[in-house]
Subunit: 345 residues, 3 copies
């Protein structure tokens, strides 16, 4: 079913491929690494899911699909060039931060500017260096790097952008003091459903519910259990935001739910095993990340920055680091290998 993921199996058995064959094999191998890199945004080392994600992003705009694909390729190639550990590259762990970095540049600096394309490529090179640093620093505590490298680079780049006139085409800086929420909190059922799906899309900065539905399809193809956990995460995020009185418009466009999707995945199935106890823990984490969202937004607002996936990263670090002190969770076995970010001890 997931033939692309059987790395190296295309070389035939018992005989080495000739030069054109070797080139083709190398190209297929690289393509699979890139597609897996896209899928790793949701912790899946699956080339098929990556291909579906690519379709989903292109549905929002072909340039977004292109930026994501080329960005992941640049990141993966940089990691190979610098000699990063082969396992990390082949499971796509060197691609997902670059994928999000390139998309972030496209969305916040304008995808059609040449300057954006050049900067996105440079950003994907630098984020590979940042990834290596984060993996090493967090390795002290056995914590995974998650999307921290992308958050660091994307925050720095978008906050710096208005300072450079060839980079910033958006007029005034977006820096502003945080304000109290306004707008109706009366959530229509249709908006709740739209918010549920848009939560998946906002992981990639997209507000369209159908992009989210396609992404969920990708998850479903690669791992039904992960899709179920992610759906619960999105539902908890949406419900928490509604209960606390977030504006309905923010819920409908997925702003209040995307961090919950990622937290639920990380804490139930990727870094902790799937069990009733970890599921409950993951959903508490999903609710926590929903509250953290406006806090991070308010912290960055006066500098012109955005929340990105900071709420997910910070919540997951806290809940993962704490998990080892809670015997009820710690007793529950080891996480499945090959899923998610490997940890350098």
């Amino acid at each position: 079913m997931d033939a692309l993921d059987a790395e190296g199996s295309t070389g035939g058995a018992g005989r080495a491929p000739g030069p054109p064959g070797a080139l083709l094999t190398a190209a297929r191998l690289f393509a699979a690494q890139v597609l897996r890199g896209q899928a790793q945004v949701t912790f899946l080392p699956s080339a098929v899911a990556g291909a579906v994600f690519c379709v989903a992003l292109s549905a929002a705009g072909w340039e977004y699909g292109l930026y994501a694909l080329v960005g992941t390729a640049v990141g993966t190639a940089t990691a190979r060039l610098l000699g990063v550990d082969h396992d990390r590259v082949s499971t796509g762990l060197e691609g997902f931060n670059a994928c999000l970095t390139a998309l972030c540049f496209a969305v916040f600096l304008g995808a059609r500017h040449l300057s954006t394309a050049l900067l996105a490529a440079a950003g994907c090179v630098v984020v590979t260096v940042v990834t290596a640093a984060v993996v090493r620093l967090l390795g002290t505590w056995g914590l995974p790097s998650l999307t921290l490298p992308y958050c660091l680079l994307a925050s720095a780049a978008t906050i710096a952008a208005p300072g450079f006139r060839h980079v910033w085409h958006g007029g005034e800086s977006t820096a502003a003091l945080a304000t109290a929420a306004t707008g109706s909190t009366a959530l229509q059922p249709a908006d709740a459903v739209r918010g549920f799906f848009a939560g998946f899309a906002q992981i990639f900065f997209m507000p369209q519910w159908y992009v989210g539905a396609l992404l969920l399809l990708g998850l479903l193809v690669a791992g039904p259990r992960a899709a179920a956990v992610a759906s619960l995460g999105s539902a908890v995020g949406t419900a928490t935001a509604w209960a606390l009185g977030a504006p309905a418009a923010q819920i409908a466009d997925g702003t209040t739910g995307y961090n919950s999707v990622l937290v639920a995945l990380a804490l139930c199935g990727v870094f902790l095993p799937v069990r009733a106890a970890t599921l409950a823990y993951a959903l508490v984490g999903a609710a926590t990340a929903t509250v953290l969202g406006p806090a991070v937004a308010a912290l960055f607002a006066p500098s012109g920055g955005h929340a990105f996936t900071w709420p997910f990263v910070l919540t997951t670090f806290v809940f993962l680091a704490a998990a080892k002190s809670f015997p009820a969770l710690a007793r529950s076995g080891v996480p499945r290998p090959g899923r998610g970010d490997t940890v350098t001890p």
Copy 2:
């Protein structure tokens, strides 16, 4: 003198208590853990001091006494449920961050709202998770967690609050750019004395000098030496603020002194032994924390956040981490066991 602190001694010798007796014993045990949790805000594992603190907070308003007590109980119960190390629970180390978290919600979101009570309870659950994470991360350097868990959660919650309409009843967001100090710097003797006592009260967000006086009484009961060190800390904080030209009104309401109290306690008697050298070191720390106060306030102001005990936490981390490199301080023996936050290596 401190009978409540003799954990388990009520069970009698040589025979197991019957079911009602067992329940009573368990309840008394839990009550002692909760009271010790309150006292651990000032590093004291003393149930008597915790009871005095409870009276002091109730003097400022019965709802504050209630929030503090129930919050500490929720935090302590959560830690027990999650299977946290027994020693941490029984010395009150799982209660003080929850105590401050609940109080912070009451003061900044309005104690009389049902939403505040529910959120405070949820906050006390989550802060227990944050505590476990912080203990693990700081364990790398042998540093105690202090009130960092509470500072993280309280900052996130108060900054996020205006984004949720069912949570925030305060009208506009409080976010504002930092401004230069205005107002008279001429400090009347009566204001200096009021500031000295209010410094104790502001640890719990209270500006009343008599609340501070009662808290100091609690310290005095549980440990006269700690009370003396804390008083020196408050005096140094007040004097530093006055010398540098802080507005007299800020000195009088304890804003400039509460971090100094905690820094002095931590660096002389809790994590470093009581000696002339460490006392001098602690008082330099107390003065440093006084200067750090307005810096932290200005950093959080544009996002609508508050300084809480961040100046104490940051100053103490720096001075404790540095202490091991200074033979004059390091030679001075080991800190007394049972006091303050134990460190997981």
Copy 3:
């Protein structure tokens, strides 16, 4: 050539000096440590370079030369008093953060105020404590402390300053929201050259190109190779800023280049060996720090803070921590001993 650096060689061979000789020897020793402390701002343990730096700063204003010299002396003396490791003191590693701290107070609080002088002295004592803490915390990853201690203290002090009326003589607080860059981006050749030199001067907060030229002379005297690497760093910083559309006025006064100078030095010759691969790596780092500059400035602006050398510190930490994961760089041998910040494992 660098006679001052031959520590202790003045005592003669085979006989102990008499009391006046011993005093003179001790004074010469201390003077050499202080001068080396100044030179360590650019990673040089060279008293001669420190003396040239002193002349360069005095060219900008005698009070700046004096603050730098006395500040370095206070920091070095504090470290000796507290019993810090002799090697750190004698190579000047306990002086450079104090040097920058004192200068920062002079520039941002007004050199001619008595309050500034007293606070600068206190700051140089406290920065020694901060240095010990940072060395210990970063030792976990084998990372050097760089100018992080100074950045922490200078940021805290300058942001806090407007809160104290006897400290702040500058009227309103400088806190403001970040704005998009305005002003011409057309860079005249003369301005580019001025910016190239001013990049060296801005390490010490000075905007004059001739101060930078004198500092470069100091580098040249102590290490021609370091001077070449630093020059490349300044050129890359200036060119990156120009290509991205930074305002010409900012390039001309060195604001866009000073972090690049330090990053290039750190990553090629000090903490990584001099090779083609590390030079390329260092220049990517220099470009990264140039982009990070406006980001850090925008982050601190709403609180009234400044970028200082934060962009250099953060970029260098990331690139150094990452370097160990890149075999192409890691294979290239060990850094030369005696240069730059030693690392406590």
